[in-house]
């Protein structure tokens, strides 16, 4: 079970990485507008049509 002494730090490092990215994303205003992006991905096709 000593393997847990490796797996746990690795998991914690991974989790910290994701927590850090989450905080970065909030500060970067990535989650300020959670409506427009869903629409935005659709419009490049329309541009081609016109």
């Amino acid at each position: 079970m000593t393997i847990l002494y490796i797996m746990i730090p690795v998991a914690i490092i991974l989790a910290s990485f994701f927590v850090y990215t989450f905080l970065w994303a909030v500060k970067n205003e990535q989650f300020d507008d959670l409506e427009t992006p869903a629409h935005k991905i659709l419009i490049d096709d329309w541009n081609r049509k016109s």
Binding site: M1, L4, Y5, I8, I12, A15, F18, V19, F22, L23, V26, K27, E29, F31, D32, D33, L34, E35, T36, H39, K40, L42, I43, W46, N47, K49, S50
Partner: protein, 796 residues
Amino acid sequence: MCSQNYYSDCIHCGKAIAKKENALVNDNGNIFCCWGCETVYKILKKEHFSLINKPHTGSSEYDILDNESFLKDYVVLQDGKQGMRFFVEGIQCTACLWIIDQIPHWIPEVENVHLNMSQNTLFVSLRTPGFFGKVVSTLAALGYKTYPIKNPDEARHFQKKENHQQLMRLGVAGACAGSIMLYSFSLYAGLKGQMAVVFQYITLAFFLPVFFYCAQPFYISLWRSLRARRPSIDLPIVLAVVIGFVLSVFHLIQGRQDFYFDSLSVLILLLLASRYLLSRTQQKFLSSSYLLSFFESQICRRWNEVHQAYEKVSAHYLNTGDKILVEEGERVPADGEVINEWVNINPSVLTGESLPQKLFKGAKIYAGTQVVSNDAEILIEHTAGSSRIGKILKKVEEQIYNKTPLISLTDKASQYFTLFILSIGLLFFFFYSFVDITEAVRRTLALIILACPCALAFATPLTQSLSLKKASKKGYLIKNAESLEKLSKVTNAFFDKTGTLTQGQFEFLQWRPPHGNESDNFMPDKETINAIYSIELHSQHPVARTLVKQLGKMCDKKLPVHSLKEISGVGISGTVENNHYKLLPALLDNGNDDSDIIASTVAVYRNEILVAYACLGDRLRDDAKKTIAELKKLGITSHIVSGDKEAPVQNVAKRLDLANDGIHSGLFPEEKSTLVNKVPNSLMVGDGVNDSLAMSSCSIGIAVQGSVEASLVAADIYSSKEGIFPVLDLTLLSKNTLSIIKRNLVISFIYNFTAGIAALFGYISPLIAAVLMPVSSIVIIISTITGTKFMRNFNK
């Protein structure tokens, strides 16, 4: 698809349209959800290619947006480029986004546009200055109403940061609580030995950010409430967290098994989550107050001595002594003196009176009144802030801050509860410590943690935010959750008359025969109608204006009038085709008609013989009578407070079966306010600035459809729906919300009581506590979500 909640699908994007009013129908009968879809549909069908190449915009109406004075307040500089933020109405779907994204292609001077669909705001940046007006007129040509928004001030900026902070705390709490659960579950599941100790320290490590970072808002708000000498719901939370933390650390060092990191972190996570949701919901409603700024940013025409012409400026930049021109249909931006011959105004915003007034040269004219006929030239005496309406609004603002906040039921309950638990705990600890001191500590702490009114603390906000959300779906904007609670306690409802109980428009209602009482569809002969129209055309009196408007639809031709003569007061006479007509004001009993509020009657004489009465006035709203009756069933007494004269008010009261002592007429806004202020648990329903003072001084104010700009400042609730039925709807909603909250309270009291006893007898181990706490929370959440039948059916 629920039939009541469904009208049709948008032919372009397929979005379901709930009501017919919201649908747009094009010439071919196709139905759309928004202008964007309509336009894109056209393009895809290749019917109307020219439009998309460049919308036709001839109007220079919006050029003001590029004036120096306007830009000063609105423009944002970004790398030396001008940018401006707008609020756009009518944004619905991807098509809108696409259309708006095309703007830089149509107007090459536009560098970039960024649409935020969750706030309906649009940011436009320009390459070369001077094209904001063009952007707005382009949007207008596409069918979107667009208002510029002032630069985000400190407050808004702070709010954004606060939102980020909240979300970050929530995220960290989530990650930490999850990890703590992982390691605690391992311990509960039977991990022993050296690794168990490691795991215990890991849980401590994960709890530190929760304790020092995530839980900060609780410490701060507790500190604030303590300084205000009011115990708040945060007291038990903070107490539990701090004691739990200290004891857990203590136990950890001692090598004992009792830790509370898991339950405490979950507690904080849940509390943060519910508070975050609540504050986001509220902000969404408040963001509609963006509209407020547009009221101030109204465009008006100021006389420029140098150019000898009127130039457009923002109302914000008017000064005392300026000469301005207000055109028909516009609102007066400042108090002043009329300097042209005459003007007809609608003063209802101040007095609530529906009858238009005629002002002559030299008369005082007040800001907020609307010019209904003829343009007005005004010499400004008091600008916006110091105008009469400005003062009222200022007073309203003060009132809002002075209002003693109602201590909510749950707050009160949890305060008592907290004190109760604390004293029980202390007593128990005191006596049991003689028996076994360690056990006493353990059990007392278990009691405090278990009994921490967490279910209480987040169930109430959850219930409230759920109600707020439901209400907003139906078009009711509720400023804060407290309003809902106050609404449920209302015993007296005060209604404004004009515009609230009635439609609020002065219009032609009906013809009446000269003799006898009622005869449906009576109409004077064609000849007479033509004659009246021709004569009234020459009068500037508001009654005449209204008649002309109505008769214009009916009459065939305009005839020459001879010997035209104005009769003192409101009369006029003249000869048409050899018949002499005389139009005089008359008093007439209203009869027993159900909905018309006749404010003014004109008797028509032909050759001195009475041939007809023309009745003008206001109409009672369809749902007024029913709503008042239903409110009565709920034990709410209704009153009328009006600035109008006694007769029409009495008239309305009679139709609504209201007792005489509940009727107050001829009141100034200030008087209205005093009156409602005297009555506890009062509700004021009004529609305009003249009611705003009253709406803010009573316990709770509801603004029904009317001038959003002013009402929303004063009222706690704004209904975007036609009529006063929302008052009943909202009352029921608030009562139901409160009943759910009460039910939750009962559940959590039962839980706390049983668990508390069990804890005191030592039956509660950390494992059971850890399981019990989420379980009780889940029960409360289920109870909240299932709600009452009314709540479930609210939006159907």
